[in-house]
């Protein structure tokens, strides 16, 4: 089965791709080594979880131009039934969004999140790092005990650290599983994040001096990382993601 394929013979033509591009230029443009492309394709295809470029490069022969390979695969698959997508700064083949109607499974939907939980998730995602008190301030209501637990149980929310303010309250943020589930490259790609920022909703409330920074995976200047052993107690149920 070890079929040897001559590179010169196999050109990564734009499959499933606008004809115009191709018709005008029947010769293949300079492209990454086809064998490397096959390897990258196979690795990304086989994986159960998204793969970052570093991991891909350790799996490929030395010197492979991983970004070029990825962008070529991304291009090849752009209009196909399966696309190469960047989620959580990693790469993953996923079915094309427009084919959802075909694939949507009538599976008993996993526990539906309550409205409070969805709002809380959004607040954590956009405002992270954020404390429980800050979430409660935005919603104008106390968080019921189960809400954060439910979000942590689904694996979308984790304890990030502690705020360097009196009482050193725990700060919450979103997980990689959150990004993967919602198909986000990073928290900077949250829908409408720029508009919300422009509207000043992430800034200190105009009068209170209450500070809510931009969502960021990075530790905030006034945030301490949480020791792993320390994580559990704030909510009761330990974060499955950590």
């Amino acid at each position: 089965m070890n079929q040897v394929i001559r590179l010169s013979e196999i050109m990564a033509k734009a499959d499933f791709e606008p004809e115009s591009e191709n018709a005008s230029n029947c010769d293949a443009p300079p492209e990454p080594d086809t064998e490397l492309l096959r390897m990258a394709e196979a690795i990304l295809f086989a994986a159960a979880a998204p793969i970052d470029e570093k991991a891909l490069s350790t799996s490929l022969p030395r010197g492979a131009d991983v970004p070029a390979l990825i962008s070529e695969l991304e291009r090849i698959y752009a209009h196909r039934g399966v696309n190469l997508v960047k989620v959580a700064e990693k790469w993953q083949f996923r079915t094309a969004p427009d084919l959802a109607f075909l694939l949507r499974k009538e599976q008993p939907e996993q526990k539906r999140l309550s409205r409070a939980a969805m709002e809380t998730l959004a607040i954590i995602a956009y405002h992270q790092p954020v404390t429980r008190a800050e979430i409660e301030d935005i919603r104008g209501v106390m968080l019921s005990k189960g809400t954060l637990d439910a979000l942590m149980e689904v694996g979308w929310v984790k304890i990030r650290g502690r705020k360097r303010t009196p009482g050193r309250p725990v700060t919450y943020g979103t997980t990689e599983a959150f990004l993967v589930h919602f198909g986000l490259e990073n928290v900077g790609h949250l829908p409408g994040v720029d508009e919300l920022k422009a509207a000043g909703f992430f800034e200190a409330s105009p009068l209170s001096g209450f500070d809510v920074p931009n969502p960021s995976d990075q530790l905030a200047p006034d945030e301490d990382p949480v020791d792993n052993e320390e994580v559990a107690p704030a909510t009761g149920s330990p974060d499955p993601m950590e």
Binding site: P97, M142, A199
Partner: protein, 269 residues
């Protein structure tokens, strides 16, 4: 903190008792949610909402609820009180505001801003939930092919280990071959006793101990062990009442005879 700060604090439901409040008044999640809902009824941009009208509607709503003798969570009442205060300040002519103290208009715009922010986060949540989600609209490969880990043995044995093993082994064996402990022949007491027990009843009158030794233990180096073990076996049997021993003088021959039944002995005599 200025007066305003305190006023602001009032906007946040006092976190009194943990878990105290999830009471939804007709399905509202807290006073801010109720206010937002009322504001939406004004059908104008939240930025242009009339806080005065909003306060009126809120207070009216609360009155209705109380009129029905329904229990109201404390923070709805706190909000009602604050809105009544805000309303009065908005209606009264503005006093010259002190340094750092927010005016009634500022408080009103803060309320508007908080409503907008809540609305914005609600919309963000809706947009987030409406995204194409993994396992619902988007799927990953149904049959991933996991990477198999193959363990490659990497032997760390060195030449030193080899030589050490060899020399140690050879030395041990060489030592083992050269030391041959000589086992002196020993008649076990158990053996002697077993043999004597078979003889009991046939020993008869006083027999010299040396004559009772097994033939193969009666001469040479073996005699010493044979004599000692047989004597000890005799003593054991004497203790058990089966034999009698006597010796006339130290180092003389020891004589042995069956003890047997008294009558048998007499008869023998």
């Amino acid at each position: 903190m200025s007066d305003f700060g305190e006023a602001f604090e009032h906007l946040v439901p006092a976190p009194s008792v943990e878990d105290a409040l999830v009471v939804a008044v007709d399905g509202f999640e807290g006073p801010l949610d109720l206010l937002l809902s009322l504001a939406r009824n004004q059908k104008v941009d939240l930025t242009k909402i009339s806080v005065l009208d909003l306060a009126d509607q809120y207070l009216e709503f609360i009155e209705t609820i109380r009129g029905r003798n329904l229990e109201l969570a404390a923070d709805y009442l706190v909000m009602a009180a604050w809105l009544a205060y805000l309303k009065s300040r908005l209606l009264l002519p503005q006093p010259a505001s002190e340094e750092g103290e927010p005016s009634a208009d500022e408080l009103a715009s803060l309320l508007r801003w908080r409503l907008q922010r809540l609305q914005a986060m609600r919309e963000a949540a809706a947009r987030l939930m409406a995204r194409d989600r993994l396992g619902r609209e988007i799927f990953i490969r149904g049959m991933p092919e996991p990477v198999k880990i193959i363990r490659l043995p990497e032997h760390t044995d060195s030449l030193y280990d080899l030589l050490k093993a060899y020399s140690t082994q050879r030395l041990t064996r060489a030592g083992a071959r050269s030391y041959r402990p000589v086992h002196a022949p020993v008649l076990l007491i158990e053996e002697a006793r077993e043999r004597l027990e078979r003889m009991v009843g046939r020993i008869g009158n006083w027999s010299g101990l040396s004559r009772l030794l097994p033939a193969e233990w009666s001469g040479g180096v073996r005699r010493r062990s044979g004599l000692a073990s047989t004597l000890l076996a005799c003593l054991e049997l004497a203790r058990d009442g089966k034999l009698e021993l006597r010796q006339l003088r130290p180092f003389d021959e020891i004589y042995v005879r069956d003890r047997g039944e008294p009558r048998a002995r007499e008869a023998a005599l």
